[in-house]
Each structure stands twice: as structure tokens, then as C-alpha cells.
Symmetry: C2
């Protein structure tokens, strides 16, 4: 049986903690890793503080197969992620020729100066492999098991295209979602608990929702089954469908799964 | 001078780590705490795993003035936050009469049964104070310095109404944002770095953006100054405006600040 592969995500930036910016990178990374068989097990949102970045990278890189960081690799004084990650690995960091070779023609072609600030984006730890940035050139990098990526969501998504081929994935987790509109979580909790007890290899989740459908507020529950065994997941889907039907509700199966 | 008050946020739920659900509670909590003079210094996203919740609550409650958790206090078997938080404090937990007194009339009025699952939502650690839930009745609670709240954003926002009066805030951080549309981060990085060096008491941030304006992609930079001194923040705003003007760009001042 394929091994379980885990990852942690570190979202770096004061703006995420002040409420100024809504993160969307965690969801993007988790959805990207899912079909590769990599489970995101924890995520941390931390400020642009050198020691905090060093410590967080250090703790999580030994605990997981992979770590993904986003944010703090731009041209300004508060972009300190590259230096902090280098420090976490005890590696020197300086402007690297291979990174300059990407930045120089990019800015020349646009008639923009390779300012001191922009040269900061060529600071790459010794021994790190570059991650291509098809959106705005300035590369990310991979050092050890840590992928260091941009914070801007469109740039981060671009970099992910150069990440997948470097991942050694594990057993994929199969998931099915059955939605019961008009169903209340409290009414199915006991039956779902019994199901979870009967099938300990399967992780069952229950996610109530409220949403506007036109002008009426609609509520309901999404029931999710997750496991690594394709036979068990099929049986679990059937069980969830029966559970919803027993409430007199028409089960809707999420087509994304 | 008023003290600095810090907080951590713990977002609990497998669905946040699988990418199924996009968190919005961190931003809501940070924006809520900002005018109270409470700085969110870190946030963690963790799965519905008892030991992980216990350990995370325990680490963060000693490190910060306040901790806020969201998620895992519903009626189903995977709602284990209340028990885990009780364990973190070494307190017993059981169905509590004051919580039942809230749930019973609520469900009776709606003709719904107080099922075993729903009774789980009356499990409150000994000594904890209830947090009112004006949306769906089942209360959150405050134990020590830890506020335990629901994960559903509308319910969580409802609970915050019963949180503010229990917070002893600190010095409010003033913030100003100056936007330069069409400005490039790399072009202002050197000047901004010099400004940051000249005013170490002020935290300067630079947040580039790309966005669709009608059918054209627009880019630019938001420059943010933050500090606790109202005079310094006024001077910093002026300095940022001058910095943007020096680029030949018309500065836009964010009216939210």
C-alpha cells in the first residue's frame, strides 16, 4: 500500500493577520496537492518577523514530507522570507547568477530598471533549485523539502505549475460529498456517529451550511466521506445516500468528487 | 502608554485543510479585534484531532493574552473542540444545565427533537462562561483566556457580539493605506526601504495587486503604514503620499482607514 505523504503550509505576511488581506493560497495549495496524494495536515499564518519564520520553517520541515510557504519574496524591505528560510537551513544566501539571468531580460524587455529592490528577488539560498514564475518572472525556490513561493495568488498559482513534477506523492484520498438540502445536522448526528463508529477506516465529516437561493435562505448539510480504499469509499457513499434518504430528503451528489 | 495586547486564532476543521472550505473567520476576527487594540500575532489551521487541538490551545494560551478558536462545536461525532479545550485546561466537561436551558426552548419552539447529537452542544467545560449565539442558539464559551466559537461564519459573527465586552484591549494600532495604481513595487522598493529605516517605530508594508478593472488588467501597489502613535502615523501618511507622487502617480487614500 502506498505511503501517507503529509505537508504543512506557512502563510507569511502581516497583512493576513491584520485582516487586510483574505488568504486564498491555502485552499489553492490543498486542492493542488489532493490528487497528488499529499495531505495538508496543518497550516500557520505568521507575520513578517525573521525569527518567527525561521522557527516555523524549522519545526514544520522535520514534521512533514513537504512544506509550502507563500509570501515575503518580493522586492521591498519587508520581504524577508528568502533570508529567513536560508537561516532555517543554515545556508548562505546571496544574489544568484541564475536568478539574475531570469530577471535582467524580463525587466530590460519592459524598459524597467533592475533596481536594488528588484535585485533582492535574485537572493536565493545556496543549493536551492529555482521555481519558475510564468506570471512575473521573479522565481521561487525549493530548498530541502521546502517550497518557497510568492504570496500574490495569481503568481503563486503560476509557480505551482513548476512544483508538481518535484513531488513524490502517496496514496490518494478518495472523497465523496452527499448534500441534503433542508436537512438539519442535529437530526442526522446520531446516525452519522453510528456510521463513523462502524467504519473507523473512513473519515466522515458533516458540514452544515446556510445560503441564499434567490431570496430565500436555504440550509442543509454536506456529508463527506474520505478514505484511501476505493471499495470502502464506494460503500460509504451508498451509506451516506441512505442516511440522507432516511430523513425524507433527496440526496445530491457533488459532481466535483 | 497603553500595553500591547496580543491574540492567536485557531481555525479547527479537516475541511479547511482539505481545501473543501475557504476560511473567512480569521479576517473577520482580526478586523473585529483591531479597534479593540488587540493584535492577532499568529493563526493556526488544524484538523479535528483531539491531541492536536489540546496541544495547540495549550501552547498558544500561554503565549498570548487571548486565543480564539473556531469550529468543531456542532452536534456531530467530529465536533470535538469543547472536549479538547476542557482537556487543555484540565477541567471536567459534561452537559451543563445553563446550556440545556438555552437549547431546549429553542428546539421545542421549532418542533425539533433535542437529539443525543444536539445534547452534545450543551457539553461545556466546568467553570466556563457561555457565549451567546443569536443565530442558532447553541452557545460558545470562554474558559480562561480562550474564546471557543462556531465555525460557520454567520454564527461566528453572531457570537462576536457577546465577545467584545469581555476583552481588555490595549493601544490601538493606527493604519493608513496609500494606493498607487500603475505603480510597480520594484520602482518604489528602495525609497520605501529608506523610509522604513528612517522611522523604525512605524511598520511599513507594501502589497502589490493585479485586478480586472472592466476588461483591462490593472496593477499597482498598496502602501501601508502602521503604528501606535497618532502623530507619527500622520507624518507617515504624508511621507507615503510624497513617495507615490515622486513616481508620477496620483496617490489614492483608502477611505476605510
Amino acid at each position: 500500500m502506498a505511503r501517507t505523504v503529509t505537508a504543512a503550509v506557512i502563510l507569511i505576511g502581516d497583512e493576513l493577520l491584520s485582516g487586510r488581506t483574505q488568504d486564498s493560497n491555502l485552499k489553492t495549495i490543498a486542492e493542488f496537492l489532493h490528487p497528488l496524494g499529499v495531505d495538508v495536515r496543518e497550516a500557520r499564518v505568521i507575520p513578517d518577523v525573521h525569527d518567527t519564520i525561521v522557527r516555523t520553517v524549522d519545526v514544520l520541515r522535520t514534521r512533514h514530507d513537504y512544506v509550502f510557504t507563500t509570501g515575503g519574496i518580493g522586492p521591498t524591505h519587508d520581504d524577508i522570507t528568502a533570508d529567513a528560510v536560508a537561516a532555517a537551513f543554515g545556508r548562505p544566501i546571496d544574489v544568484r547568477a541564475d536568478a539574475v539571468a531570469i530577471l535582467k531580460p524580463w525587466y530590460e524587455a519592459r524598459g524597467q530598471d533592475l533596481t536594488e529592490g528588484r535585485m533582492r528577488m535574485a537572493r536565493i539560498p545556496a543549493g536551492a533549485e529555482l521555481i519558475q514564475n510564468p506570471v512575473s518572472a521573479a522565481p521561487g525556490f525549493l530548498i530541502g523539502n521546502v517550497f518557497v513561493m510568492a504570496g500574490i495568488p495569481s503568481v503563486m498559482r503560476g509557480m505551482l505549475q513548476d512544483v508538481g513534477h518535484r513531488i513524490r506523492g502517496g496514496a490518494v484520498v478518495y472523497a465523496h460529498t452527499v448534500r441534503g438540502v433542508g436537512m438539519r445536522e442535529g437530526d442526522i448526528a446520531d446516525a452519522l456517529g453510528a456510521l463513523a463508529k462502524a467504519r473507523p477506516e473512513v473519515s466522515f465529516g458533516s458540514y452544515p451550511f446556510m445560503r441564499l437561493n434567490g431570496k430565500t435562505m436555504e440550509y442543509g448539510v454536506n456529508l463527506v466521506a474520505r478514505c484511501r480504499d476505493p471499495d470502502l469509499i464506494a460503500a460509504s457513499l451508498e451509506a451516506l445516500i441512505e442516511l440522507v434518504k432516511a430523513q425524507g430528503v433527496k440526496p445530491e451528489i457533488d459532481p466535483k468528487d
